[in-house]
Symmetry: C4
């Protein structure tokens, strides 16, 4: 049985959803993604809190990552309790009921050619 690597609290200090993007379809639309790997044998209950520069945090945004599955969640798609505003800075805290691994990726298609960034999130606990 695969061990369950990871941590139960992660932080991503960088966050920004560009206000506009390419018309080339969903795959090339500007997006900011949190990639979560649950390599263990228990479903992971995820609660994400979003922090801003000048207002109180929003959330939690709740997701389930089934056992032995990965989900690449787009912040663009978060709707409950409310969408994340475009074009402003934010940060996020990801709490999980079981150990998971978290990585952060952005695809920026504001200009004709896309740009990419990615980094493993900060393992906080």
């Amino acid at each position: 049985m695969t061990p369950a690597p990871g941590r139960t609290l992660w932080a991503i200090a960088e966050g920004y959803i560009p206000p506009a993007g390419s018309d080339a379809g969903r795959a090339l639309e500007s997006h900011e993604t949190v990639c979560i790997l649950n390599a263990g044998d228990t479903d992971a209950e995820i609660a994400i809190t979003i922090f801003f520069a000048d207002r109180e945090p929003k959330g939690p945004y709740r997701f389930t990552i089934p056992a032995r599955r990965t989900r690449h969640l787009r912040f663009n798609d978060f709707v409950t309790p409310e969408p994340i505003p475009r074009g402003i800075d934010y940060a996020s805290l990801i709490e999980s009921s079981v150990p998971v691994v978290v990585q952060h990726t952005r695809l920026d298609s504001r200009q004709a050619e896309l740009a990419l960034l990615s980094t493993v999130a900060y393992p906080a606990a």
Copy 2:
């Protein structure tokens, strides 16, 4: 004698092989790479498991990294037990028989100009 830095279990939560790419040849073809450094004096037996959003994990994909060598493995090239599908999200868990260092890089050439991302993988054990 060089010490053998690293860990024996690594995770990469982000994974995606773009479905199409540049015609500029192999060096500029879209690819997703796991770079493994075995700086020690013993060969490393590597077993990689691939996780998906909606199906059971695949693998292990097996490789040997000789002592004092590095290999930059392209997920695009994985064939046994089966190729990794293009255009879907995945994640990976890298187990090694001896300590190694793992870094993840993607070159995306879906558009005219390439984009790059890279991050050290998460050291899980």
Copy 3:
């Protein structure tokens, strides 16, 4: 109450503000950013020291990140005690009065299409 994840000393070995950039406005101007998340319930007093290749360090540059807030500070905007020169290599050390999480991002718009990089800073203490 949200726990306060992070560390009180971070380092970013890479730093470079491109000397020129796009005319597309502030959002697409070349910039180098330090993103700081203070997820705790106490304001964070930040002191940033800048290191160079061939002169003594400058600083501290002082900022306050309020409790439960994030700030994405552009090195381009640092003015006191003095602006950071363009087009030369630097590095930075970020000290905080309470635990915070730090990530480093650069947007380079020297050419027609932007490029991005990002990485979590090194947690030093």
Copy 4:
């Protein structure tokens, strides 16, 4: 007095110097950089070993990073004991006499628009 953050052994599993690049001058030439911050009060004696896929490691390449200084070393510029070949995969191990912080960056200008990647190196000891 500033504390000296960091470690004395770092690894970068990814390495590749593109064989050709932009004609836009040294700042935009394709390069692979190891950024080293010595925030302490003692000079750092650095020894870098380069690992390859199919030959014995080369090195050490030796550098001094003075106290309270940063140096962004381009692998392209390494000459002694011998230059690093272009267009092949490599990895590197960075040993220091005192704690330093190491970050890895690549600028790729093989195509008209540059691409960037960066990540903190793996702190091995």
